[in-house]
Symmetry: C2
Subunit: 190 residues, 2 copies
DNA sequence: CGAAAATTTGACATGACTCAACTGGAGTGG
DNA sequence: CCACTCCAGTTGAGTCATGTCAAATTTTCG
């Protein structure tokens, strides 16, 4: 719980009492590597703050190929927003890539906190805002970079993830096949 | 101004007085087709609500090729968030694709409204939240669809934009060359 | 240790790009 | 209102980036 508290405090100013109530609305959950936090088509009734470990959010193409859309490690969030907000079946699946501890919050509690506490409203706004910036930049990359450039960008910006995440998942995140990523890695760097 | 008022009202409940103050912080501006609202490297001191017309937000690759990241038509927003929030030089350029009327708001005024009025805070949160959903889905598309599938998706979801926006700009948004888009269009639909 | 999964390697296929030439419309100036 | 230019769109030939498939090799983990 401490990590969440710190994360919120780092973004907004919030009273101790409010923070206490906020905390009370989260539940700690544990997932083993490869377990699912959410499955495509299931109901997306909670979102997750990752305390330790790592999860991937992915879609499954019609040919059955999986495409990683987001990796969430410690101090970041994971969830199927689309389904969560519109109470619609999940479009994404979320799976633990390591043994992972999350703080889970239900839709009702989330809505409650957002409505009752401006500090929490502000916090969630900042989360979304940061996501928008990151996602726009990711799209810009996909439009303007080649596969190799995207890989090098990833290397430079997330060197820690390279260590932790299987190559096939990174390939999927970059939008290329594992075979092609393998080939890129073994090319001389120019 | 009326469109902005309606848009805000459609998303959050807000008092008439607050709305009046909100309105007072916006300035109407007019741009002719091809004029720039913001240029790469310039200072991103305002964001724009599009009342009429259409603008594109794009990046310029090192080879000089432009890549459209967002189209904003009536009742939607445009702006370089990255630069706006971090007071950094603009990463994107924003250009009118038609004669366009926008309501512009400065960083100071935006911050003021967000800090003083929870209703405006809530409104801006919803804007970001919707953007996150749309952007994630766009990334998912880029990962799992071929160029042709992306084009057909665009056709189905934004038939009105097809009418208004030059093909070369749509090609750029889809991440393909104008020549290739032209070829796709002339293929038999399967 | 042994089975299953991840990564590598290579031959071949193809989607998408480049470049260059051509066509046709939209805007402009005389 | 015509003639002209210029830009958007098309077409086609040749090429390159990336994907597919299949087999070999390495790593992971029970």
């Amino acid at each position: 719980m401490e990590k969440l508290v710190q994360h919120i405090k780092s973004q907004v100013s919030i009273s101790a009492e409010t923070m206490k109530i906020v905390q009370s609305r989260f539940t700690e959950k544990h997932y083993k590597k490869k377990e699912y936090l959410l499955r495509f088509g299931g109901s997306s009734t909670e979102v997750f703050f990752v305390s330790t470990g790592c999860v991937r959010t992915y879609i499954t193409g019609f040919n059955g190929v999986e495409h990683n859309v987001v990796f969430s490690v410690e101090n970041w969030w994971a969830g199927d927003l689309q389904g969560f907000i519109h109470k619609a079946p999940a479009t994404y699946s979320i799976q633990a890539l390591e043994n992972t501890t999350v703080l889970s919050i239900s839709q009702e509690n989330w809505t409650f906190l957002v409505n009752e506490f401006p500090a929490f409203l502000a916090y969630s706004r900042i989360l979304f805002r940061n996501s928008v910036i990151a996602l726009e930049s990711r799209i810009a990359q996909h439009l303007s970079f080649t596969a190799k450039e995207r890989y090098q960008y990833f290397l430079n910006h997330y060197p820690n993830l390279i260590q932790r995440i299987a190559q096939k998942h990174i390939a999927s995140y970059l939008g290329i096949t594992p075979e092609f990523l393998s080939m890129l890695r073994n090319q001389k760097m120019e």
